[in-house]
Symmetry: D2
Subunit: 343 residues, 4 copies
């Protein structure tokens, strides 16, 4: 009954098998391995972007902040949601990597609204040396509350950004889960919707630790390479990053794995709805924010279930305590059933 995160599960066999297969003979280091050619071609195919610059790093933090740093001057502002992962969960990493930029927080719920974005941009005085200057817009989908931006919502945000000539970054730590949920293509969710650079997440979706950073404008390529190296994120035995991503891309495995995770979540959602549990946000992928009485949290805790609970176990039995539940591809129906059995 492990719903703590989609980063707590094992590596999917389709990914692991390629890692094991890669483990023989010698390969050039630092991204010059043969497998990286396969990865580059695979990403360009999936994103229908034959000129895209493609790089691998091992953590989502690195992917996001290295990508953003290529589009942000130290005296600029990054526009993001008040609950954006880069704001809440990265110990100031974006500030470190950009050399001093600030984040401007947009407080419009689980998603940034075009009006909220426009207001935030307008609040940044233009051409006034005293103020931080306008910089990139960073959007997360699947959002940090388990919802997914519709393509029209993404396009509306990009339209605002473009009106002010600002680049758009997509934090796609759960890119595949969002894409499967929307039933769209990777291109539709990115450059066709105005996204300039995307972190295409693998780690949370069945990989060991790999994220692709995809620049649709390859002019940032060399700067990214220097920034990645300078930050210690260029792997010498890079083939093991390539192998993961190769497996992830082969026959679009990333979609199947995400489909499985989303379906697991769907099964859990259905079960919880049947129990009358309250949803704080309408779940659209593999992450749920729900509310139920402390009493049930207690029995779940006793039974060894793990998830992020936003309140302690001490207190009135019937008080509602919210929590986050995340399903990865590997969580079994039996575990979900066991979990539901406590309601």
């Amino acid at each position: 009954m492990f719903f703590a995160s989609d980063n707590s599960g094992p590596v999917h066999p389709k990914v692991m098998d390629r890692v094991i297969a890669a483990n023989s003979g010698h390969q050039m280091a630092y991204g010059n391995d043969d497998l990286m050619d396969e990865v580059r071609a695979g990403i360009r195919r999936v994103f229908e972007a034959p000129d895209a610059a493609v790089y691998l790093v091992a953590t989502g933090t690195a992917a996001n902040v290295l990508a953003l740093a290529c589009y942000t001057q130290p005296w600029q502002t990054i526009y993001c949601s008040k609950i954006a992962h880069i704001q809440v969960d990265e110990c100031n990493a974006p500030v470190f990597y950009t050399g001093g930029a600030q984040l401007k927080l947009i407080d419009t719920g689980d998603k940034i609204t075009p009006e909220g974005l426009e207001a935030a941009i307008a609040e940044t005085p233009q051409g006034d040396v005293h103020s931080a200057q306008r910089g990139p817009v960073s959007v997360t989908s699947v959002t940090e509350r388990g919802t997914v931006y519709a393509l029209d919502e993404l396009k509306a945000l990009s339209a605002v950004a473009k009106r002010y000539d600002l680049p758009v970054h997509l934090d796609g730590a759960r890119f595949a889960n969002a894409m499967v949920s929307l039933g769209c293509t990777a291109a539709e969710m990115t450059w066709k919707a105005g996204v300039d650079v995307v972190s295409f997440g693998g780690t949370k979706n069945g990989c060991m630790g790999v994220e692709a950073v995809v620049f649709f404008d390859p002019s940032k390529a060399w700067e990214f390479e220097l920034r990645r190296k300078r930050a210690g994120h260029l792997f010498s035995k890079h083939r093991y990053l390539s192998a993961q991503m190769a497996g992830y891309l082969e026959h679009d495995a990333f979609k199947d794995i995400a489909q499985q995770a989303n379906e697991n979540a769907g099964y859990l959602i259905e079960g919880l709805r049947a129990k009358g549990v309250q949803f704080l946000h309408e779940p659209q992928a593999n992450m749920l924010y729900v509310n139920f009485p402390r009493r049930i949290h207690r029995t779940l805790a006793e039974a060894g279930s793990r998830y992020a609970r936003h309140g302690g176990l001490e207190g009135p039995e019937e008080e509602m305590i919210s929590c986050r539940l995340v399903c990865d591809w590997s969580i079994g129906r039996d575990q979900i059933d066991a979990f539901l059995g406590h309601f």
Copy 2:
């Protein structure tokens, strides 16, 4: 005939098996996995340091610069060799991670001499606000030229550092190769010789991508954790770092792997000596700097051999061209024989 680097070979089965074994079920993320307990205990045992703070990162760059950053103020100077990896091969990473420190380069050959260190420290005015201030001493062993500091040499450097109350960092990207070469213990090569923090390398010695940072003074622990997170070097699926290091430590596998690499190098050295090849430095571990005529480089290149050559293939046949040859554990005697066959 792949002598390009010890980071171009495959992962050793003792390490890979643990990675594969770790791939089932759910585990807490971000270093809270069960395997990390085994790793922590293993490192403390190997280093005879029951209070050491132990952390894992995936690259040697990260290990070195995060460790150094915990001991360096932005207005200080890091003392290191003119050929130190942190100076030559890290695209300014130490400057980035320390927030602005400079490196003071000591030009005394493959090793820093105590006199050279003392002179460099003395050259930094003490208590003068105009000058960068004195900071940590960083030593690499195996050195960047394939030699190994004798324990007395290490102690002599630490003695100088301690006289000025400066901390000592050991870049141990090839720690095990040095240790096996010296026939000493890990403790003798570190805290017993005055080292405050060590990067205990795994990647170059048969791992996939893992380095342990070991602080003998655990008071730096929390700062390191924050710096690692802020830099994007905290892995969510941390168990796969732990698993590598667990396999590396189990029954002191790191020693066996290093022994194998050093012996491979020994076989190559013997063969080259028999051919009358000139050694630029006396090789003491698994890395050789040698000199031979362009003519032989040409035949080796044609035969597909890979290594770092410090000169082009065009030019007089008999001109001497130097090169670096590195042996990992996996390089076969047949390959070495084939290589030698071209002399």
Copy 3:
């Protein structure tokens, strides 16, 4: 009719005379001038703080961000008002100087309330490596809206900060105006109210360009000196900073100058009230935020009056447009009368 800012007026004779007097003979550079001894003693006397560490810089930005940097780690959060000068008007300077800290904005009007501060601190998870960590509290008085924290209000904020073991910084760009308004001592407004470090502003109050940074805990002294030098804010011909501050402190000239500015503002306030002008904040020092019809802004603009107007001259005549009016010591009653004549 110049109400644009208190940094647009001339230097007060009491300050200028000392600058002129200082201009003869040779003096040691970089803060080792004889006048600095007088300044140090003067600040310690005024603040009743015999152990205070005292430094001069030439701009308010430098004073604030250098002081804050001594109390902030790069992975921490600075708590300040949403309208704090360090947030709104410094082009990310605090982020630059702290090496990467973020500002957490408290949105409780012109002043930070203790409840607002407590909520902001509580929102920062403690001991969670993913989140930015808690850092210093920065308070501005005179506030950016022309109001002044009562001593009890300041103490209440410090009490919250101390409960969480966080340091308190006071941005005193208009320190003297606030002090005169409160009728209190410099000690009461600082260390007696829990302030750890203060930027004691001179520039806006009749100096040419000088601010004292006063640390009540002198343990930060050497770090400040290094940070000041590294930032290019240590003056070689420091005597001209010392001379300004010496004149500013002599016979408590800073109080007289601030008194004059506040009285000028009082005269303007009275006149505007008599005209029925609406005040957005209750002015307590030398800065007013008021609202009046565009029609009057137009006639003032035609007559050459200068001030910060928060709206354009084009539009309906009777629409209310807000503005900021600041009085320095030098603004004459005749100018104020002329200004009022347009209402």
Copy 4:
């Protein structure tokens, strides 16, 4: 007998008079003062550069590092002399301002030679992600040893830089002294010799604290403005910087003041030569490096003379101790005679 530095003397009347004259009425802040127009025109006239972007800061450190930062990426290398002021005397300021660049030190004596520069550039691998990348060349004239680059020497350095497409920065803390020494124009010493940006020093040559940064390529203008503000080096009461520079430029006062300083030094040089004193470098402007017995240093110290002595007063009487002697415009012949009287 004050030869410690040209920053220890008083402000020249031609400069001071303009400061005093500027002290009436109100002026727009932050560089929008009327006097700045005069300054901008004056600099463009003096440098024969009608499109130059011109900015004022108060310290030489700020001028140099802000100028360099506009031409340096954090992963690049600044080429400068091993004795460059930016290396030796700025407490890592260039590293701080560039966000992480390193300095590559050229050890060819008081001046960088074209061969030394070329070798240093060539030593930086091109297009190798592991190495710091090539960046700007920074030259100081008057050099840190009192010599002056001939125009041909400057051009030869620029030619090397241009061949590698690298920008050239001139640290002109003693620009006027060098120019007067060469008998050339400001244009000849800068853009006509391939210099892209110059710090045109005022402070050491009779000003209170002002340096002009002159960009011959105005495309860097806005970035400089943002960097200056973000660093706290934009003055609110900017008119007092403008006034100094206006006086400094009027009727080319900067030349007369430098002429006076150089002549004072010439008189001292002649006197010392007559006494048989040994010169470590051939003095070409207003700064001397000389060698004489400890015995004379002692009598000078007893007589209250101030200068930088590179050795203590304790030791053998006849041991040679070197020192630096600097003459500003204000040092009187009587003082020089008194000084010489001790030999």
